[in-house]
């Protein structure tokens, strides 16, 4: 029972950390609970379907269907995160200001909410199918006390959800002015980590070169198979033995988010600059 609790807890936590961060990142936006709940439901439904066709998917594309599918899911999430990131660079400051002064929910950012909803759905799709398969395995092998194992699984689900909720509460305790800055950094790291992992997966099936199988090894410091290692893996993309392509994808995504956000923010400032006087100080 404890074993199944731990396994389900780990998988739920991986998706749950994403859900917790997304909840915090959309704090104060009207309708966000509905959108994110829809994302969770869609992800869970998709995960069940995916588990059903796991065998077929695995055999697809000469046995590499699973890898291509996972990479596609991760890269789609990166795109959605990018969209949200640019939108926040444009509107984030107003959002924080309104949230602080009005203290009520803001009717804005339908598109960004949709992006966040998809990110949640994709995270649950990816991790959830593993949970479904695991629980199915328990039920199928009905010899070794399936009830206790199943209860353990439910316990793991509840525990994972509880930790995700705690993360959300911890994040929204951050003063409103800083909240979106913090979630912005978290979502950027999340996107970079996903991009890195997607390319590591593609390299594994030989779709892209690895550019070095193991650039460094920090397993002595923090192993991937520890709970902290796994949590850091989800949030920041940490891995103890990164490949070259993984680091490259990570770096490129990180740079794209930072530069893209800066450019968007600057364009926003220029657009909304109050015209007090003519710009006459042109020292060429």
């Amino acid at each position: 029972m404890l074993a199944s609790l731990l396994i389900v807890f780990r998988e739920v936590l991986e998706a749950g950390l994403v859900v917790g961060i997304v909840f915090a990142a959309t704090e104060g936006i009207a309708g966000r609970t509905r959108w994110i709940a829809a994302g969770i439901a869609a992800g869970a439904a998709g995960a069940s379907l995916l588990a059903l066709f796991a065998g077929a998917l695995s055999n697809a594309l000469s046995g590499e269907g699973q890898e291509y599918f996972n990479a596609a899911v991760m890269l789609a999430a990166v795109l959605m995160l990018g969209w949200h990131h640019l939108w926040m660079a444009d509107h984030g400051r107003e959002l924080a200001k309104q949230l602080k002064t009005l203290g009520s929910e803001i009717n804005a950012g339908r598109a960004s909410l949709m992006a966040m909803s998809i990110v949640v759905a994709l995270a649950i799709l990816r991790e959830g199918s593993e949970v479904v398969l695991f629980l199915y395995g328990i039920v199928a092998a009905s010899t070794d006390g399936p009830v206790a194992l199943f209860l353990g699984g439910i316990g793991g689900l509840a525990l994972g959800a509880a930790v995700s909720f705690a993360l959300y509460r911890g994040l929204v305790a951050i003063p409103t002015k800083r909240l979106f800055q913090v979630t912005g950094v978290l979502l950027t790291l999340l996107a970079a980590g996903l991009a890195g992992q997607a390319f590591a997966t593609l390299a594994q099936v030989g779709a892209v070169p690895t550019l070095g199988d193991e650039i460094w090894n920090t397993a002595w410091l923090l192993r991937d198979d520890t709970l902290i290692g796994r949590a850091l893996h989800v949030i920041t993309g940490y891995t103890d033995r990164p490949s070259g392509i993984q680091l490259l994808a990570y770096g490129v995504t990180l740079a794209a988010f930072v530069v893209g956000g800066k450019l968007m923010h600057r364009a926003h400032e220029r657009r909304n600059r109050p015209i007090l006087k003519e710009p006459s100080n042109e020292h060429a």
């Binding site: 593993e130 395995g137 193991e214």
Partner: protein, 118 residues
């Protein structure tokens, strides 16, 4: 070319191509591993250091399993009674643990990477 010679030519080229592929497949024949009753057989497999290779895992159980290793970064789901092939990157000599993620206490094995591959 006379019409009657054509099948012969076709056949011999097919044989040549077939042999070529066989030779290639032999040079990189995947390491074999099976999981039954949630245990890996063999529990220890050996591979040479510094070159990429494949591991073929056969799931003989009626339940799904995930072949996973943190040490050589593999994570792949196996449907019941299905086989998978996973590529493994060039590794340094040493012992690399792998496990079945759905039965981690039972399904455990070690990949031993040695300079000579023995």
């Amino acid at each position: 070319m006379r019409p009657s010679a054509f099948p012969k030519v076709l056949f011999s080229s097919a044989v040549a191509v077939g042999l070529g592929f066989a030779g290639q497949a032999l040079a990189q024949a995947p390491l074999q591993l099976s999981v039954q009753n949630h245990h890996f057989t063999p529990a220890v497999i050996t591979a040479p250091a510094g070159q990429r290779f494949m591991i073929q895992v056969h799931n003989l159980d009626g339940t799904p399993e995930e072949f996973e290793s943190y040490d050589f970064k593999v994570e792949k789901i196996m449907a019941p009674h299905a086989s998978i092939i996973v590529p493994v990157g060039a590794l340094k000599p040493g012992n690399y643990a792998f496990f079945g993620d759905y039965n981690p206490t039972l399904a455990k094995g070690v990949l031993r990477v040695t300079p000579g591959g023995h």
